[in-house]
């Protein structure tokens, strides 16, 4: 029997909003797909594009970046800077032939547990449709 493809998604969630939102989704016992592996960062502005490309190299099929809503950033401007960076990066990936839906960005506040679950469901389904990321996976051969 062929196994169903389960996408592997890395989530970079900001400490102050999205991570707390994910926490709320958990404590409120909202069901959402287990495909997201969360990495806590202090701010979405901390997410260097090198993290995204490295994740895609090392086995992630998609990357989700979560930050505070515009204007709510704990560091005032980190999410705005991340938004610019990701806009450029997504276009660059699309241009090289990697579906830009593999890199997603979202604003989730600490009070939006439901929205967090919805976003994870949507991203997981989108990436499940895209299939495994095989463009430039790192081969660990020695």
């Amino acid at each position: 029997m062929k196994e169903k493809f389960e996408p592997n998604i890395i989530g970079f969630l900001c400490n102050w909003c999205s991570y707390a939102g994910a926490d709320l989704a958990g404590t409120s016992r909202i069901q959402y797909p287990p495909n997201l592996k969360v990495i806590r960062v202090m701010c979405s502005g901390r997410v260097n594009p090198i993290f995204v490309i490295n994740a895609l190299q090392q086995g992630a099929d998609g990357v989700l970046i979560g930050g505070c809503h515009p204007g709510d950033c704990h560091y005032e401007r980190g999410n705005y800077l991340a938004r610019r960076r990701m806009a450029v990066l997504k276009n660059l990936l699309e241009y090289t032939g990697i579906d830009s839906n593999r890199v997603r960005m979202t604003w989730v506040s600490a009070a939006e547990g439901h929205k967090f679950a919805e976003v994870v469901k949507e991203v997981t389904e989108d990436i499940r449709k895209l299939g495994p990321m095989q463009h430039f996976r790192r081969e660990n051969k020695w």
């Binding site: 594009p49 090198i50 490309i53 490295n54 190299q57 515009p70 204007g71 401007r77 705005y80 800077l81 938004r83 610019r84 960076r85 990701m86 806009a87 450029v88 990066l89 997504k90 276009n91 660059l92 990936l93 699309e94 241009y95 090289t96 032939g97 990697i98 579906d99 830009s100 997603r104 960005m105 979202t106 604003w107 976003v119 949507e122 991203v123 463009h135 430039f136 996976r137 790192r138 081969e139």
Partner: protein, 327 residues
């Protein structure tokens, strides 16, 4: 046409100044097929300076490449200026470096040359394969005149110019201390037709194309060394802990390197084409850079290397930046 005598006089005068360490410019090169960067430390060195269509290198890399060894006890830092001979496109690199505060305006003396277009050495090589004899390349009104063995051949500019010259917006250096000859007004506009055409292809076609190109890469990092904007003290590919990009040459690491190199030039690339010229494997790196240049122009209405007072693109934001991709 650039009068070489005026250029040499300007170099002499600059090198003669007490507060100038040296002047970087072009000399004829070994055969004359491609001008080589050269340095003038004294006034007599200025005699070897030339300017002809083969002066394609971007000399703006030199002030950033210079080693600054730690000072001995009681030693004063050398704060003398560096003189550079710059074409219009090259001057944008200096503007961008000043904008990023890599250099101060008073650190450099710019000898600006209004340029009517240079020759792409790769295109010239195709016309004269295996040529080792001495060559003379000159401007001849609207053409390039190449003289080998006393025989002169004329080529139209479109035939030999690199892509960057065909759409040059700033033929006259944006900032300069001395200008050789008359100012030239830029009339050409960047042409994004090729990029737009490529964007319309399917994802598979695009990846197949880039897979082929990235697979060629031998990771010599010539693109980085030739680039005037790549002057990080420690490049991200050389960081060992954590090692983001491995040193092995394979498709995965090559793709990571090429994408990240292009991304690090977002809002900084001044389209001088040095990366592509120096690439020994002929990877069309400017296609990546140009795509980003086009995107940031459309999305953020930003152009790199024009205004030294502006803020760097990725260090600022507007509340109404595009965000239709955000969930």
């Amino acid at each position: 046409m650039v009068d070489e005598k005026t250029l040499r006089d300007a170099v002499k005068k600059t090198v003669g100044r007490k507060d100038v360490k040296y002047v970087v410019g072009y000399d004829k090169g070994t055969t004359g097929f491609q001008a080589a960067p050269t340095f003038a430390y004294e006034e007599k060195d200025a005699e070897k300076f030339v300017f002809n269509p083969t002066c394609v290198n971007n000399l703006a890399v030199y002030p950033m490449l210079e080693d600054k060894p730690p000072l001995r006890k009681g030693e004063e830092p050398d704060t003398r200026k560096i003189g550079i001979v710059l074409k219009g496109c090259d001057s944008r690199a200096i503007v961008q470096i000043i904008q990023e505060k890599g250099l101060k305006r008073e650190d450099v003396v710019i000898i600006g040359i209004p340029c009517t277009g240079v020759i792409d050495p790769k295109k010239l090589k195709v016309k004269f394969p295996g040529q080792h004899k001495s060559v003379e390349v000159k401007y001849d009104n609207d053409k390039f005149a190449v003289t080998v063995d006393g025989k002169t051949q004329k080529f139209s500019k479109d035939e030999l110019m690199p892509e960057k010259c065909k759409e040059c917006e700033y033929p006259t250096p944006i900032i300069h201390d001395i200008l050789i000859g008359k100012e030239i007004k830029g009339v050409k506009k960047p042409d994004y037709k090729e990029i737009e055409g490529f964007e319309k292809k399917s994802l598979d076609d695009k990846w197949k194309n880039w897979e082929k190109e990235f697979d060629k890469c031998i990771r010599c990092y010539a693109c980085r060394q030739a680039c005037p904007m790549c002057y990080c003290k420690e490049c991200m590919v050389e960081i060992l802990d954590p090692q983001w990009v491995r040193r092995s040459v394979n498709l995965s690491e090559n793709t990571a390197w090429n994408l990240l190199r292009a991304f690090h030039l977002a809002g900084r690339c001044i389209s001088c084409g040095e990366c592509e010229r120096s690439c020994p494997m002929d990877i069309p790196l400017m296609k990546l850079n140009k795509k980003i240049t086009k995107d940031i122009h459309e999305m953020f209405d930003y152009k790199a290397g024009v205004d030294a007072e502006a803020k760097p693109l990725l260090a600022m934001f507007k509340p109404d930046d595009p965000e239709e991709f955000i969930l």
